[in-house]
Symmetry: C2
Subunit: 242 residues, 2 copies
Amino acid sequence: MLFFTQCFGAVLDLIHLRFQHYKAKRVFSAAGQLVCVVNPTHSLKYAPTRCAAAQTSAEQGVPPPCHHHEAVHDPQLVPCTCPLYSCPWEGHLEVVVSHLRQTHCINILQGAEIVFLATDMHLPAPTDWIIMHSCLGHQFLLVLRKQEKYEGHPQFFATMMLIGTPTQADNFTYRLELNRNQRRLKWEATPRSVLECVDSVISDGDCLVLNTSLAQLFSDNGSLAIGIAITTSKVHNAEAEM
Amino acid sequence: MLFFTQCFGAVLDLIHLRFQHYKAKRVFSAAGQLVCVVNPTHSLKYAPTRCAAAQTSAEQGVPPPCHHHEAVHDPQLVPCTCPLYSCPWEGHLEVVVSHLRQTHCINILQGAEIVFLATDMHLPAPTDWIIMHSCLGHQFLLVLRKQEKYEGHPQFFATMMLIGTPTQADNFTYRLELNRNQRRLKWEATPRSVLECVDSVISDGDCLVLNTSLAQLFSDNGSLAIGIAITTSKVHNAEAEM
């Protein structure tokens, strides 16, 4: 009996180690909440040559990109909204999600409330942690970015963008929540549309901003857990009036 | 009838103008909440000569300060906890509140929930906005500081300290809340004791931190309203478990 117990323990240890070393994005459920482990990606946005080459090889099966706007521009086409790469792709808003999934391998999660667990917070800036979130019939892009706005002083910026128009975005409220060691930080706002560039949202500072010291206070073993909830704006307004 | 309506309007305008130009700290009640208007004070902590002179003249009636610790040190004495001045005063914890009120003219407010309205947010760093808050049988010191941790990049730091021991402080939770333009930012934490220096709390970044851009987003006409609530820790823990 003792032998079987030990064997079972060893198997559990192996599963645990396998899980710890599994480097891809992964999802599990803890205490009824959907937890999504998101690994960092070093931003290649400012390395266009390397990026363009990667895009060309990856973009098979997707309509040919509108290279440098040489073709006649269709006003209904939107550029690629991936915050990681300077991607030449253009397409209709309805196909942005499939482009982000297929070309940029950004995962999509279902659920009104999820936990975004960003790993390896110590990595140097610029680094992004990105996931798509499907909720209330729409898709949202959650971006956590480590960036040095002031040289030598990296900060973390977290925001949520609706993959839709600004008018559609006005109907929602998103909440990001950090909670650890008897400290709690909550940010609530209307999501911006992906048609507005994520870079400008971050440079405006209209998002959750964390200094390195605050990020460390909320981190556990190098990972930062951000609770995410999306509601329709009517609920938000009713709460504000209370 | 029209004449009386116009007269009444003119009187209201005059009251409004008088109120706008009244420069001292003032308190009023808006929508059932106690609003305390707090004017900034340029921090003189790093100008000891000027500060010492001001202290000497102001300190009449208060026991003579323990100059440079020449006398035998009583372990029950605590230094002055005023974040504004390098004050040589020392006294028992029980008389810190009266010292802060009498010598440093820091106002004290009663009430479980108050709104701290900091004016003139545009003033250059270092600047402090300070108020004492009496609640649940204890006194708390609320400090909002504009400081350049990184040269040329001022930030705002807000924290609440209990005028009591660290053990007493552990029994409370304070909440600071900013709410404007469909954005909301909440910070909840256990207050630190005034026996720990406010400067170290701010340098550790263990408080509500705002970049200038975020502070502007939450400001209205150069003033920042911070909602403050204090609860006992048991309530906080129960909420966290929900």
